[in-house]
Structures are given as structure tokens and as C-alpha cells.
């Protein structure tokens, strides 16, 4: 059953309304164990094999807070320029849903561990938008449901559901922005860039594997529209199931056009949770939002308050890595990159790889050239991310070193890289096995040069007459005869020498 949804042309939406965004990002921490018990958090285990009485909510079980999860929460808060609470509590958020075995989620309510921060987000054209962060709080993930029966395999029309609680209790940090206003037509782009920036930040902090495809980073997008000079925000919807950066942008854009059509038609927006449909790029209505009161939050009696000492907070501050934005700026200066070159590097996902290659001894220019051109092509051909290529920064640095010391030509170097990618071992092993070393033995080269000169006496004559440019043809013949394994520069020297230069 599908009904046609009226949508307003995007340009018309912008002409008439101002969008207001609120983004909630949930990040699963990559701790060894769950938030409140010692069960492992590994993704993809057999159902209900990473559970215990605590995360199953069995009577008599008691939660104990994972210290590393608290540290991660504080580090995330600090990286987001937040204040860290001197004292805060967990709270029970009560609602019934089978993916929560306890019938409440242990979360934080009015005392988040981190609050009042901001994150600068750089858009593609270099414009910087400062997104205000309302809070970052600790909570736990839910289990996973599998809906059985019904035509669509979805919850609607399902006969029953099957629950796997392996994920229930995995530490989550929820990061909530303040309303993001004034972004106009760029709202969808800002939403995407914010999530991307946050993802990079969390990755740099090494607190999560931030895989949107596996659900370790999830975004709920709150969107509302207000008429151009309206005194207050409009009613918002919250779109869930937004599982990629591209989807974040599409979901926001779709909601803007849907809400605008409704409002322009004299309708009103229902405050509800909507579900993003990846295939069609649309959203569909879900459950009506319960009000905050209906969750009947109250302080969790089974967990004592958390009071991070300022010493601890400052110690954690010293563990913060260089933030991605600062790092890019530094790299741009150190490697003398133009804005465009930097953007190419970032878009290719090559910043870390190039940096690691430079750390392994290569020059920045060579390292950048390899990763951004030849290796990016190979990644494209294989439809994998650059970082997924079976070659390490150290191996690339070794190949660059072999070129630098004259052992390899650029052409041979590409063959060595091909060999490494094909699983033939380290660069030096590939060189040996494939016999790729530059022929630097002059006696072998002299023979090839003499042969080429003899085969083309007219060219040889020209060179002898001082037309040095003609040597190119002989170089080409020698390179061909040596299957490209000669050093072209040396070959040229030998030709000129032979021709009485």
C-alpha cells in the first residue's frame, strides 16, 4: 500500500522556509566489554552467545560501570569542547519494547557527563559552520529484532519477532546538537558534513570503529521548517535508520520537501519518528513520539553517581590526539599543498596512508603521488577503499626508496606494487622473484647499446653529428631490448659516450 506523498520543489522550499536541524548521533564504543557487565562486544557473534544475567535483565543481577567507557565518554566530551560534569548520575528510561530486556534503558537524563560544546564543520567549498553541541551522554545499546512472517519481512504484518541480545548493553555515547539554524539550502550538506566530521574525530580518538554500515555509528535527523520570519521553530520529525553519510543528506532533503508541501497546503506536521527507506530515499511514518514524561526517568538506584575528578579529566585531556582538522592544516603546511591538493587527498581517504608512508621514510610528494594516483586507481578497479588495499604504508615507502636509489624505474616500481597487491610478498621479494631490478651492469648495457646503434646506423650518424635529441630513438630500442629494466638515464649516457660525446 503506497500513497503518493506531495513534495515541494527544493528551490521553493528554500524561498519560503528556513530549515532547523537537530542531529543525534549514537556511537558504539569499541570497549572489550559492555557498559554494565563483562560480556564481549564483538560484532557478528551467534545469537545470544554474548549475554549474561545483567544484560538480559534477569532478577537479582546488578550492573557495574565499565571504567573505559566512562573514560571514552569524557575524551569524546573534551574533543567536542564540552564541559565535563563534576557529578552526574545514570537514569532509567522506561518503555516497553522487546529489544530491551530490562524494560528500561539505562541512560542519562538531566545530568549528561559532557555538555555545552561545539564542533567546526568544513563544507566542500571550504566554508566553516560551527555546530553547537548540547550534550554527550552515556547509555547502552538495545538488542536486535528479526521480524518473521508477513509479506515484506518488516515489522508491519510480521507474525512474530526473534530477539538476539548480543548487542544489548554495548556502551553507547549519544551526542546531541543544539538546533542548527541559518544553514538554508545547505542544511542537508551541513548535516552530512557534521556526521562525517564527527566520524573522523571519533576515529582519531580511537574510541569506536565508527562503521555506519555495521551500525556502530548511527544518526537520527531531526528536521523542522519555519516560515521565513516565524517567531519560533516548527514541529519536527525525527528520522531514524539513516545508515550512511549519503543517506543523512538525502533524508534531510527529503523531509524538507515533504514537510514544506504539507505546510504549504495548510497541513500540520505530526511530531513522530520516521523511518528512512534507503532504496527510495524517502521516509515513512513510524511511532508517535512518547513525551519525555512518559519515559518516567528516575535516577538509577543500582549505580552510584559518577564524579570525575578534575585531575582525571585533565589527565584524559592529555591523551587527546591531534584533531583531524588541525592535523589537516598542519599537513597542508608541511607538505606545501594547495587547498585543492589537500581536498583530493582527503577525498581519496589518503591522509593517514600518506602520513604513514612519510613516517616510513618516503618523501611527501612521492607518497602522495603513489596513493592519490596509481594506488587509488587500483582501489577503484577492485571497488575497495584505499585503506583496504593489501599493501602497507611501509611497503609503499620501500618501493619509493628503491626508485630513489635507482634500483627501480617508475614502470618497474608499478610492477612491484602490482606484485605486492597480488600477494607475492614484500617489495624486495617481488623484485627478486619477478626479476625486476634495473639492469645497472654497464657491460650488459654496452652490448645492448652497440646492438641498437648497429641496427639504426642513420640515427647513430645523426648523434655523431651532434644531434643529441636523436638519441631518444636508441634509448627506446635499448629499453625495449631490456624489457624496460634498464635505467633510461644511464642508457642515454652510454649512447652519447659510444657516439664520441
Amino acid at each position: 500500500m503506497t500513497t503518493t506523498v506531495a513534495l515541494m520543489d527544493y528551490a521553493d522550499v528554500i524561498a519560503r522556509f528556513d530549515p532547523v536541524l537537530g542531529l543525534e548521533v549514537h556511537v558504539e564504543l569499541s570497549t572489550n566489554t559492555k557498559m554494565f557487565c563483562g560480556c564481549p562486544t564483538v560484532f557478528g557473534g551467534e545469537p545470544n552467545t554474548q549475554v549474561c544475567p545483567t544484560c538480559l535483565g534477569l532478577p537479582g543481577s546488578l550492573p557495574v560501570v565499565n571504567e573505559i567507557a566512562v573514560e571514552s565518554a569524557i575524551r569524546i566530551g573534551l574533543a567536542l569542547n564540552c564541559e565535563i560534569a563534576e557529578w552526574c548520575r545514570f537514569a532509567r528510561k522506561n518503555y516497553f519494547y522487546p529489544d530491551m530486556p530490562k524494560n528500561f534503558q539505562t541512560s542519562q537524563y538531566d545530568e549528561p557527563i559532557a555538555f555545552d560544546g561545539w564542533l567546526d564543520v568544513t563544507l566542500d567549498d571550504g566554508e566553516v559552520v560551527r555546530v553547537q553541541v548540547e550534550r554527550a551522554h552515556m547509555e547502552e545499546d538495545t538488542g536486535k529484532s528479526l521480524h518473521v512472517g508477513g509479506a515484506t519481512g518488516r515489522i508491519h504484518g510480521a507474525d512474530y519477532s526473534l530477539l538476539d541480545y548480543n548487542r544489548a548493553g554495548v556502551p553507547l555515547i549519544e551526542i546531541v546538537t543544539k538546533p542548527i539554524t541559518g544553514t538554508g539550502e545547505r542544511a542537508p550538506e551541513v548535516a552530512r558534513a557534521y556526521v562525517a566530521t564527527l566520524r573522523d574525530l571519533l576515529k582519531a580518538l580511537d574510541v569506536s570503529d565508527v562503521r555506519m554500515d555495521q551500525g556502530s555509528l548511527r544518526c537520527d535527523a531531526n528536521v523542522s521548517l519555519m516560515e521565513k520570519d516565524a517567531p519560533e521553530f516548527g514541529t519536527r520529525t525525527e528520522t531514524k535508520n539513516v545508515n550512511s553519510l549519503r543517506s543523512v543528506e538525502r533524508a534531510v532533503r527529503y523531509e524538507m520537501t515533504r514537510q514544506a508541501a504539507l505546510l504549504a497546503d495548510g497541513g500540520s506536521i505530526l511530531q513522530e519518528t520516521r523511518h528512512f527507506e534507503e532504496a527510495s530515499g524517502t521516509t515513512r511514518g513510524g511511532r508517535r513520539k512518547e513525551t519525555s514524561e512518559d519515559y518516567r526517568y528516575f535516577p538509577e538506584p543500582d549505580l552510584v553517581p559518577i564524579a570525575p575528578s578534575r585531575d582525571w579529566v585533565e589527565r584524559l585531556r592529555t591523551t587527546l590526539p591531534e584533531m583531524p582538522a588541525a592535523r589537516r592544516k598542519r599537513i597542508q603546511e608541511e607538505w606545501s599543498l594547495t587547498d585543492l591538493e589537500l581536498r583530493d587527498l582527503v577525498n581519496a581517504g589518503a591522509v593517514d596512508l600518506v602520513a604513514a608512508t612519510v613516517d616510513a621514510g618516503a618523501s611527501a610528494a612521492e607518497a602522495r603521488s603513489w596513493w592519490v594516483s596509481y594506488l587509488s586507481q587500483q582501489a577503484n578497479n577492485r571497488s575497495v577503499e584505499l585503506g583496504e588495499l593489501p599493501i602497507t604504508a611501509g611497503q609503499v615507502a620501500r618501493v619509493i626508496a628503491l626508485v630513489a636509489d635507482g634500483s627501480l624505474t617508475n614502470k618497474l616500481a608499478r610492477e612491484v606494487v602490482d606484485g605486492v597487491l597480488a600477494g607475492e610478498g614484500e617489495p624486495d621479494e617481488v623484485v627478486d622473484r619477478r626479476g625486476l631490478k634495473v639492469v645497472s651492469d654497464d657491460s650488459a648495457l654496452y652490448a645492448a647499446v652497440d646492438e641498437a646503434l648497429a641496427a639504426q646506423p642513420d640515427v647513430a650518424e645523426k648523434i655523431r653529428d651532434g644531434k643529441v635529441a636523436a638519441a631518444g630513438a636508441i634509448v627506446g630500442a635499448v629499453m625495449k631490448a631490456t624489457k624496460g629494466q634498464a635505467d633510461a638515464k644511464r642508457v642515454r649516457e652510454l649512447i652519447l659516450e659510444r657516439c664520441g660525446g
Binding site: C52, V65, N66, Y97, P98, L162, L163
Partner: protein
């Protein structure tokens, strides 16, 4: 004057997924009212300068090391479930709600 209305009892019952009869709505409204009034007496002695107590034990920062501890096997986990299938807990269909 009762501070708990019939509507509030019905609302709470719905949130708690309890089926209550008409009679029970009245009875619980009166009982809850008594409870609320009893608890309200605390307000007579606790002034603004006394913070609400959520934890009677003066402890903070009770943490656990991030070390994996053995849990239950799949068989043990679903053993007491009213219904299970393929190692998962089987629950009646969920209508009108979506997480």
C-alpha cells in the same frame, strides 16, 4: 481533593502495559492519591536547602575493569524463555510501535 485523575491512571496503565478494569481505575486512583499525599509530607520538612536523595550510600565512581568475563551459553540464555527459535527469544508480534 484527589490529585490523581482517572485519566492519569489509565495513561499510566497503558505505559505499563497493564489491563485495568473500570473498577480498578477508581480504586487505584484513590490508592495512588493516598500514596502521593503520604510522600508529599516529606515536603513539609525538606526545604529548598536539602537536596533530594537518590542514593543513600555516600559512594561515587564504582567502576569495573574492561575485562571480558564468561557469561551464559546460548542454551542457558534461552532456557527460561517462554518461547525460543534458532537460539533467539521469540516474542509476539509487535504492533503499532517501532524502535
Amino acid at each position: 481533593m484527589p490529585s490523581i485523575s482517572r485519566g492519569e491512571v489509565e495513561h499510566l496503565a497503558r505505559l505499563a502495559r497493564l489491563a485495568v478494569t473500570e473498577d480498578e481505575v477508581d480504586r487505584f486512583a484513590a490508592q495512588l492519591d493516598q500514596i502521593v499525599q503520604a510522600v508529599a509530607q516529606v515536603g513539609q520538612v525538606a526545604d529548598q536547602d536539602i537536596p533530594p536523595t537518590s542514593h543513600a550510600v555516600p559512594l561515587t565512581n564504582v567502576f569495573r575493569r574492561d575485562d571480558v568475563r564468561p557469561g551464559l551459553s546460548q542454551q542457558q540464555a534461552v532456557a527460561a524463555a517462554p518461547a525460543a527459535e534458532d537460539g533467539r527469544f521469540r516474542v509476539p508480534r509487535i504492533l503499532g510501535e517501532e524502535a
